[in-house]
């Protein structure tokens, strides 16, 4: 069998992993100053999740998704126009401590040696384990948005349940698409607005976000979508698959029928690569997630490795773009190139864009029971491990997520903790009455995504490149 030729260069100045706003912006900046830049994207086209398939969107989808989404088109165009090498369908499965990247493209693995890396792999949904959440017909709210962005598909019989801006954004988009949700079930606890009020000045600085958010909520209410507030004790009902949602709202037990239940509790940084590389992380008690320790320009505790975008902490798409540019500039400067923008101006824009965050974080912090499900609830979906089993393991003496993983297999399935990791850590921390920082997180091992034995067997790491 003839070896496949390397689709990209064998080495580069800067490798960017992920082609969302942070990755696209970083690539354009880096290429602009003459850095040999490669961007590795798991997707078929640039955009990441928030600008998913923006290059191929239709008039109907644009109408529903609005200008916040179509703005991603400019980033994608800038990437395409730049000298950065864009590699789609390229899944990074290992990065060595010397920044040698192993990636898989269409079933063959290749290597790329990078002098610097920007990790721009964005965020994942916060896990929201409830009884019945593994049934067919239950997805994340983000999944509904992806179905719409990629294929123009909208669910006609869906409940949106949880907390956070995305809940309202997708609800309003479904209204605009002619398929309003059957209900919005909000788990934001009562009196959260009061709790968030100390941050109102920041919110007013970010008033365009506030106005946008209010307009989404108004659009959903105008469409007469039933909204249930202060919801707790959520449970998906249905025998083999989802037929509805049961919950308690303002003290009243409710059952709403629907074939689709979409859950959301905000997003959190995707930690797989920063954990694999051994970057230091800390628990952010406002965002309720682990974040990599970074400098103002996104440099992690591992030299020449940067994070930009939601992977550094949840700041949204505009900040991701700015962070991508800032990180790329920092790398360019370190390699003797002149940065195209003033870093202090970029930093100032970042500060301004971040003004809304403390308000949103206080308003939409997950309710306590979100990350502390009842014993019978499945927490690790891959291996069907319940919250109770994890608590039992802690009681036996397992002190942390890695021991629990070894003992129960939670985190050993193909998702490698991407879905359950935060909840497993939270359950352990609460059971032991210790902090999240002390509890830590799963040790992440390669391959980052499953790799066939065949592909590894055929891997030719010292493949010659075509000149």
């Amino acid at each position: 069998m003839t070896p496949k030729t390397n689709p990209g260069p064998h080495s580069c100045d800067l490798a960017i992993i992920g082609a969302g706003p942070a990755g696209m912006a970083a690539a354009a900046t880096a290429a602009q100053v003459g850095l040999k830049t490669v961007i590795l994207d798991e997707g078929d086209r640039p955009g990441g999740q928030i600008y998913r398939d923006v290059e191929q969107t239709t008039a109907q989808r644009k109408q529903v998704l609005g200008s916040d989404y179509t703005a991603g088109g400019a980033l994608a165009a800038a990437l395409r126009a730049s000298d950065a090498v864009y590699l789609p369908r390229s899944t990074v499965w290992n990065i060595s401590s010397k920044r040698l990247i192993d990636y898989s493209l269409d079933g063959t693995s290749f290597q790329l040696q990078a002098s610097a890396i920007i990790v721009a792999t964005g965020a994942v949904e916060r896990p929201f384990p409830i009884p019945g959440w593994t049934k067919p017909g239950v997805t994340t709210v983000g999944a509904l948005q992806i179905l719409f962005k990629s294929s123009g598909i909208v669910e006609e019989d869906a409940i949106l349940a949880g907390s956070g801006p995305l809940l309202w954004l997708v609800a309003s988009q479904m209204v605009a698409a002619g398929s309003p949700p059957v209900a919005v079930v909000e788990t934001t606890p009562p009196r959260r607005l009061q709790a968030a009020l100390p941050h109102i000045l920041g919110a007013l600085r970010g008033h365009h976000y506030l106005r946008k958010g209010l307009s989404l909520i108004r659009a959903v209410r105008r469409a007469k979508v039933p909204v249930f507030k202060d919801a707790t004790n959520l449970e998906v009902i249905g025998d083999q698959d989802a037929t509805g949602l049961q919950f308690i709202s303002k003290g009243q037990r409710r059952t709403v029928s629907a074939r689709h239940v979409a859950l959301h509790q905000g997003v959190v940084p995707n930690p797989q690569i920063t954990r694999l590389l051994g970057c230091d992380h800390y628990w952010d008690s406002k965002q309720h997630c682990f974040r990599p320790v970074t400098s103002a320009c996104g440099l992690t505790s591992v030299e020449h490795v940067y994070v930009a975008g939601d992977g550094a902490g949840i700041m949204g798409a505009i900040s991701a773009d700015l962070q991508g540019r800032l990180a790329a500039q920092d790398i360019a400067t370190s390699m003797g190139k002149s940065p195209p923008e003033r870093s202090d101006r970029l930093a100032a824009k970042l500060t301004k864009d971040a003004a809304i965050r403390p308000f949103l974080e206080a308003l939409y912090a997950p309710a306590p029971d979100v990350m502390s499900p009842a014993d019978a609830v499945t927490v690790c979906r891959c291996e069907d491990i319940t919250a109770g089993a994890i608590r039992d393991a802690v009681d036996l003496g397992a002190p942390g997520p890695n021991q629990v993983k070894s003992y129960l297999r939670s985190g050993m399935g193909p998702c490698q903790g991407r879905v359950c990791g935060l909840v497993v850590a939270t359950i352990i921390a609460q059971r032991r009455s210790v902090s999240m920082d002390e509890t830590g997180y799963f040790r992440i091992r390669p391959p980052l995504k499953p790799l066939t034995l065949q592909e590894l067997a055929r891997f030719q790491p010292t493949q010659e490149l075509d000149p």
Binding site: N94, Y407, T452
Partner: protein, 382 residues
């Protein structure tokens, strides 16, 4: 606990892998007051992440008596520690891919018979296929130890540790031993082992510090040529059941086991990169690729298997590939059990029992001469 407590015991075990935990358990069961100090957490290193093979097959002849004794203990382990440890009796098989390899294996079994060991049997082409229907056509035959087995390494080590504590042993995790010295002030020989949290005092110290044991031995004047290595493993997603033996190959590194849940654990000892000072081990995929090739060539059904995770641990390896077990050559009250060279898991129960006997009674009937810590020093260095 206040800083710098002083804790007394009969025995201080340094190292919370299977050997340390096992020794602590058997010693505590014998009524000794045992303290175990572990710099990370129980089973954090080799003992928690190995292939889980419970294997007598293919061992260096010197190890066989201890390995046999250990196997007897494995058969009763579930009662002993009140946890099944994921242990199952299963054939361990080593395959010959060429006639020459088959001849070597056959010769080995004949030699074992003359020494009185009956557990290994020769398997011809047909017999190997009866036990391993999915094996490749090119396999000539092999040898097997049909009542060996496998277990879950972390679950086992954890269970032994809990049992030791049930018998009264006190475990201290996340404490690094900083200093081991003899207290000259008392008339008895008392060791003082200091960590950043406490000072522990006992007449006996057992060094089970794995890849870090050499550093500890060296600090007490016993230099030993141990090397820290990082054997690599990988595990696949579930496949339909096709193999219930643990399989190795005579001519190339392989340890291949399909677990009851269908996942396949593949190892064999190809090495990654080890940095024991940082608890770091890193995969070297060009090496692991060879393991993948071996697995696919011996079990063609694996071609659609996906690797879900790979990992390595940090293990101590001796130049002659057999461990150091026994009393110190220099100091009374100091004992060693380390350097198990990538095959210590199965021996853990036997070694723990023997060390407990040796330390409690001052002597043991077991022949430990081949494992003496100073066997390397006897060689001339020029």
């Amino acid at each position: 606990m206040t800083a710098h407590s002083k804790i007394s015991a009969d025995l201080i075990v340094i190292g919370g892998g299977i050997h340390g935990c096992s020794a602590a358990m058997f010693a505590a069961q014998r009524g000794m007051d045992v303290v175990l100090i572990e710099k990370d957490t129980i089973g954090r290193h080799a003992s928690g992440v190995n292939a889980g093979g419970v294997r007598r097959l293919g061992r260096d002849f010197a190890e066989l008596p201890i390995s046999q004794h250990s196997m007897e203990l494995w058969y009763t382990l579930a009662d002993l520690v009140e946890d099944d440890c994921g242990f199952q009796i299963a054939p361990q098989i080593k395959l010959a891919e060429t006639p020459q390899e088959m001849a070597t294996l056959t010769e080995r079994v004949a030699q074992l018979r003359t020494l009185g060991f009956e557990h290994e049997v020769v398997l011809d082409r047909a017999e190997v296929r009866r036990l391993l229907p999915a094996v490749s056509d090119h396999i000539v035959g092999g040898i097997g130890s049909l009542r060996d087995g496998f277990a879950q390494p972390y679950q086992t080590t954890f269970a032994i540790a809990r049992r030791a504590q049930h018998f009264g042993a006190r475990f201290f995790e996340n404490e690094t031993v900083q200093r081991v010295e003899k207290n000259a002030q008392t008339s008895e020989q008392i060791w003082e082992v200091s960590t950043d949290q406490a000072t522990y005092a006992a007449p006996n110290v057992l060094n089970c510090a794995g890849a870090w044991a050499g550093r500890l031995a060296e600090s007490l004047g016993e230099t030993v040529p141990i090397e820290a290595v990082a054997p690599m493993m990988m595990v696949t997603s579930r496949l339909p059941p096709f193999c219930d033996a643990v399989v190795g190959a005579a001519g190339r590194p392989l340890s291949f086991k399909q677990m009851p849940n269908g996942t396949v654990v593949i190892g064999g000892g190809r090495l990654g990169y080890a940095d024991p000072s940082k608890n770091l081990s890193e995969m070297i995929f060009p090496e692991l690729r060879l393991t993948a090739q071996t697995a696919m060539e011996i079990f063609p059904i694996m071609r659609n298997a996906t690797i879900v995770r790979s990992w390595s641990g940090i293990e101590g390896r001796m130049p002659d590939k057999i461990p150091v077990i026994g009393p110190s050559a220099k100091h009374a009250g100091l004992f060693h059990a380390f350097g198990f060279s990538l095959h210590g898991f199965q021996m853990g129960l036997g070694v723990g029992d023997i060390m407990a006997e040796l330390i409690a009674n001052g002597s043991t009937q077991w022949q430990l001469g081949a494992f003496a810590i100073d066997r390397f020093a006897q060689r001339p260095t020029f």
